[in-house]
């Protein structure tokens, strides 16, 4: 992943969480272009209308207004152009139904947002190592 610096789309409604992801990326020297959508509808508009370059990775929150993460995933997986994008759920939802629904829609991982920023940094570092291991 490092060589090509693939685009990443963060779908997240909470501005503090968006800021935390940006800070964690910066502290982990993740230089990939990061685009942000505030909910599922906004993300679909950005992807379908090519407002942003097609990302290889989506980091997806579950609980969002207008269209939640699972609804977004269902629609995304039905669209030829979007269905193969790697999706990593990052959420506070510990509900089994959300985990089951997400894995049935073939997310690459379901990550619970850690409560402290230090632990969040560690999670992002783990993700970075995993992304660097994989070809996309």
């Amino acid at each position: 992943m490092n060589q090509k610096l693939v685009n990443i789309l963060l779908v997240e409604d909470d501005e503090v969480d968006v800021m935390n992801v940006k800070r964690a990326f910066s502290k982990n020297n993740i230089m990939n272009p990061l685009f942000v959508a505030g909910n599922g509808i906004e993300a679909l508009e950005m992807l379908e209308n090519q407002i942003i370059p097609l990302p290889k990775i989506i980091i997806l929150d579950i609980n969002m207004p207008k269209m939640n993460g699972i609804e977004f995933l269902k629609i995304m997986r039905e669209k030829e152009k979007l269905k193969n994008i790697s999706v990593f759920v990052m959420t506070t939802s510990n509900e089994d139904t959300d985990k089951i629904n997400a894995y049935n829609l073939n997310v690459a991982g379901y990550i619970l947002k850690p409560l402290s920023f230090e632990k969040f940094l560690t999670s992002v570092a783990t993700l970075k190592n995993f992304w660097q291991l994989c070809e996309m």
């Binding site: 997986r77 193969n84 894995y103 073939n106 379901y110 999670s123 190592n129 995993f130 291991l133 070809e135």
Partner: protein
């Protein structure tokens, strides 16, 4: 993340032993099952040797198993009870056609490695950290 099991589809004994060796040295020890071909793997997923519970993770080299491996992954993706399995392709043979085919199946990771013990150890260290971070 708790206990989880892995099904490894691999026909090289030394690689199976190396992977078993890696987990025997680690605190988190997932249950590792291995199948030497896709027929045995399917039997362990849905046949006479069906594993209970179903493994959360499947590791396969589609460049060794070729069409049968891709067929197995397609069948898994279309099976209601198996479609949520996290699939990781680990391979030392970069065949772009197979890579393109499996990336369309929403695998969790396509990982090139030389299978040399040091590189394999690093690969599984990263994967182990990732598996311990995600929820199932």
């Amino acid at each position: 993340m708790g206990n989880f099991s892995i099904l490894l589809v691999e026909d090289r004994v030394t690689i199976i032993e190396n992977i078993k060796g890696f987990f025997s040295e680690n605190e988190t020890r997932p249950t590792l099952y291995s199948a030497t071909n896709t027929i045995d793997a399917w039997s362990m997923l849905e046949g006479f040797s069906k594993l209970n519970p179903i493994p959360k993770i499947l590791l396969i080299d589609v460049n060794r198993t070729k069409e049968e491996g891709i067929l197995l992954l397609n069948t898994i993706r279309n099976h209601p009870d198996l479609k949520s399995i996290l699939v990781f392709v680990i391979t030392d043979a970069a065949q772009e056609t197979n890579k393109a085919a499996v990336l369309k199946l929403n695998i969790a990771g396509y990982i090139p490695t030389s299978f040399q013990s040091q590189e394999l150890y690093y690969c599984f260290s990263v994967l182990n950290d990732y598996w311990n971070m995600i929820e199932f």
